[in-house]
């Protein structure tokens, strides 16, 4: 029988598209992207499901495409989540070391992590991720593994990402309804940064911005750990909506204009130029000022970056981004967005590519798929860890079997 345990699928239910990425985990632990399926998403707004039936239909279409392409059957997925309700913050847990010799044991570490997770959340919220940052032993900073060290007081910083339980559950239930299992839920921002950043960049400090259709997620890494994360429920949809309002055209037309003529900076070359909109017969319906189009887009995108900068300034993290800013998501395709981001952030900005993964280059090169690819990567990291554990149990079991057979 075909063993599909090495197949990992990532599912992102986005505002503009639903996409499924299928990866194959090689025997040596290398990850290979073998399939990709996507469909236009019609039942999602600002990253949250508003029409489950519609989403289910779109989801099946995307699944089908991915299974066809990869020639495998997908049984479980890693599900990406987002939405304006998702928040991240840092929390510190404290634990006194009580053993007589003051040596920190694995139990102490477990306890301190548990303490750090015990946080005051609103009743309707649930923790999505609790990522360990650094340990402190008697105030000594930057300890990554305190087991075996001596100390009286053990502390740990955690980055906790939480969201509204019901809204998260909606997405999970929907996936389950299509007879798929959900291996884990992952915040899209973290998934995107997994796909984009190398360990060195995480060490240096980097900001990943996923400019999606309905939401914009951002995650800050520094010293190899997640320091900050956030979601703005503003995305490409807002740009289209602004254009539709400002240029007085229908939304679908605004969407097309955005893709065809959009730009994040008002370039000198287009000043005073007009774009004529024609109907299917080639008759001119309307003339639109190209400069206005780009100005409307530029203002919206600039505002998104400014809001992120303000948030990072409040968190005091702007000076830690030594590797710069990485953009992904459909929004990073807009012409001139790198320049705009450089103007706002005053640092190096790169349109990110998925790295440290091999496979379909068509998928890897496209910024829209970064989050879904990251989901697969998350799955591979997780299953590698699980394999590590099961290997030990397997070998023990093997020994027992031999005993039994004797």
């Amino acid at each position: 029988m075909f063993d599909d345990s090495n197949i990992i699928a990532g599912l992102e239910i986005g505002t503009s598209k639903i996409c499924v990425v299928v990866g194959e985990l090689g025997a040596d632990g290398s990850l290979n992207i073998i399939g990709l399926g996507q469909s236009r998403s019609r039942g999602v707004r600002k990253g949250e499901i508003i029409d489950p039936a519609q989403v289910e239909e779109d989801l099946r279409a995307a699944m089908f495409e991915a299974e066809q392409m990869a020639d495998v059957e997908i049984r479980s997925v890693y599900l990406g989540i987002t939405g304006g309700h998702v928040r991240g913050f840092n929390n510190r847990g404290v634990h006194p070391v009580v053993s007589a010799d003051r040596e920190i044991s694995a139990d102490d570490v477990e306890d301190v992590v548990k303490n750090a997770k015990a946080i005051n959340l609103p009743a309707e919220n649930t923790v999505v991720h609790a990522v360990r940052q650094h340990f402190f032993v008697d105030g000594q900073d930057g300890v990554t593994n305190p087991v075996g060290m001596l100390g009286a007081r053990l502390e740990v910083d955690m980055h906790v990402i939480h969201g509204n339980a019901n809204r998260l559950q909606n997405a999970i239930r929907l996936v389950r309804a299509t007879s798929l299992e959900v291996d884990d839920v992952v915040f899209n921002g973290i998934a995107a940064s997994l796909a984009l950043l190398t360990n060195e960049q995480k060490e240096l400090g980097a900001l990943v911005i996923d400019l999606g259709g309905g939401t914009t997620e951002y995650v800050v890494y520094s010293n190899g750990v997640i320091r900050h994360s956030g979601v703005l429920a503003v995305g490409g949809d807002h740009v289209s909506n602004d254009l539709a309002y400002g240029l007085k055209v229908p939304l679908s037309r605004a969407e097309k204009l955005k893709i065809e003529y959009g730009g994040a900076l008002v370039s000198e070359a287009i000043k005073g130029q007009t774009i004529s909109i024609t109907n299917e017969l080639g008759l001119e319906l309307k003339r639109i000022n190209h400069e206005h189009l780009q100005r409307i887009m530029a203002l919206r995108l600039e505002e998104v970056f400014e809001l992120i900068v303000q948030d990072l300034e409040r968190a005091g993290l702007v000076d830690y981004l030594r590797a710069g800013v990485y953009l992904c998501g459909g929004g990073s395709r807009v012409g001139g967005i790198v320049k705009l981001a450089e103007n706002v952030f005053q640092m190096n900005v790169t349109a990110g590519h998925a790295c440290a993964i091999s496979g379909l280059t068509t998928a890897l090169d496209q910024p829209e798929f970064a989050a879904a690819i990251g989901l697969v990567k998350f799955g591979s990291l997780k299953s590698r860890r699980r394999d590590g554990r099961s290997l030990i149990s397997r070998s023990i079991k093997g020994v027992f079997d031999k005993f039994l057979q004797r």
Partner: protein
């Protein structure tokens, strides 16, 4: 605020060590605070008033009055446009400079956000420094309900003022909003905000005028204030009787402007100055400083103590706390001018003229209500994305008032 009886100004000869202080009210709000100052207490100071609005200037209890006349508006103010105020002030730079001539210290009182206060005060600060005076500005930031535009203007002015003046003490009105109860009248509210500003002026005044045992120099104050803060918090408390040290500490820690002591914990430089009668004991000083120190473990504390025989049994303490800001001032100015740049005159009419600016009997201007109802298009029925009170679903260019012509 300005029903304070007008007491004719007189300046008794000062003993040589005391610096000559000139208190200048700028704009309507500044003049209103100036009028509310107790003239007998600040007898050693000279009062001056500068405004674009002749009516408010006429009622000001000042010895020096400078009217920056705008031919365009026929002396009816600056129309809420700080650029206009700034242009006028720069035109009359030499007049401003001569008004500051001879003073050792200049206090500038202004309410930021409008046209006159925001436009003139940075220029005045510059003029006063060129005239050889040390400049300390006491300013208020507008209430949040006064709109984003005024807020932005005020923030920008604050940046200019910080680079022009030796020190800026800034009081965000919004903070006071939390302190007053719902039935407080508008007049009363402005009296309260003005009152807090006056408290600050009085605190610094005491620092400068009373001979200190443990002296706090004006320079100390300036280093504390310079390049440091978005806004500092200050508190001025008094107590008397046997348990006065304890009472003072309690009052400081529950002071509304210090957010019940929380501001102290966040600040990184704190100035504490005590003034009392001859019976001030070391234990009392110690008690106060110790308690304050316990609140702000990270802060550098500058302390001073002074004896004033007239205080008798009273003990008064001035606390000024400043918070470190991580962003260098220059880059901040850049970003702010950039964001403020495209905001143009289309929204100006829409922004409500606040009662603060109306005072002074300027000819009322017919305001226009924003009648166009902004459709949120496809986000009409979804949960709005709010950020600092702004609805991000509304197109950015509309919110910023960028004209598309």
């Amino acid at each position: 605020m300005n029903e304070q009886p007008e007491i004719p100004a007189f300046a008794p000869p000062e003993p040589p060590p005391a610096p000559l202080v000139r208190i200048i009210g700028v704009g309507n709000a500044g003049i209103a605070v100036l009028s509310a100052l107790d003239r007998t207490e600040f007898a050693a100071a000279e009062f001056a008033a500068i405004n674009t609005d002749a009516v408010s200037l006429a009622s000001a209890p000042a010895t020096i009055k400078i009217h920056l006349e705008n031919k365009l508006l026929r002396g009816l103010g600056s129309g809420g446009d700080p650029d206009r105020g700034r242009a006028l002030a720069e035109e009359q730079f030499s007049t401003l400079k001569s008004a500051c001539e001879g003073a050792n210290v200049v206090f500038i009182l202004a309410g930021l956000g409008g046209g006159a206060g925001s436009g003139i005060s940075p220029v005045l600060a510059k003029a006063a420094r060129e005239a050889g005076a040390l400049v300390l500005a006491f300013v208020t930031l507008p209430f949040e309900c006064e709109g984003n535009r005024r807020e932005a203007q005020a923030r920008q002015t604050l940046e200019y003022l910080k680079s022009a003046a030796d020190g800026v003490i800034c009081l965000p009105n919004q903070r006071i909003f939390k302190l007053i109860d719902e039935n407080t009248s508008l007049l009363e509210t402005f009296r309260v905000t003005g009152g807090f500003l006056i408290e600050g002026v009085r605190g610094v005044w005491h620092l400068l005028m009373r001979p200190g045992l443990i002296q706090v120099h004006f320079g100390d104050l300036c280093t504390l204030l310079r390049d440091r803060h978005a806004e500092n918090a200050f508190a001025f408390v008094e107590a008397q009787g046997a348990g006065r040290a304890r009472e003072v500490v309690e009052n400081i820690l529950s002071h509304p402007l210090l957010d019940e002591g929380r501001v102290l914990a966040e600040s990184d430089a704190v100035l504490v100055s005590l003034t009392a009668g001859k019976d001030l004991s070391m234990a009392e000083i110690n008690r106060v400083i110790d308690q304050v120190k316990r609140q702000c473990t990270h802060a550098q504390i500058i302390m001073g103590a002074a004896i004033d025989p007239a205080m008798k049994e009273k003990l008064c303490v001035t606390v000024i706390a400043a918070k470190q800001e991580t962003v260098p001032a220059t880059s901040r100015i850049q970003t702010e001018t950039r964001t403020a740049g495209p905001v143009s005159s289309t929204r100006e009419v829409v922004v409500a003229r606040t009662p603060r600016m109306k005072k002074g009997g300027a000819k009322p201007i017919q305001t226009q209500l924003p009648l166009t109802i902004v459709s949120k298009g496809r986000f009409d029925k979804s949960e709005p994305t709010k950020h600092n009170g702004e609805d991000l679903d509304v197109p950015t260019f509309l919110r910023r008032g960028v004209p598309l012509n």
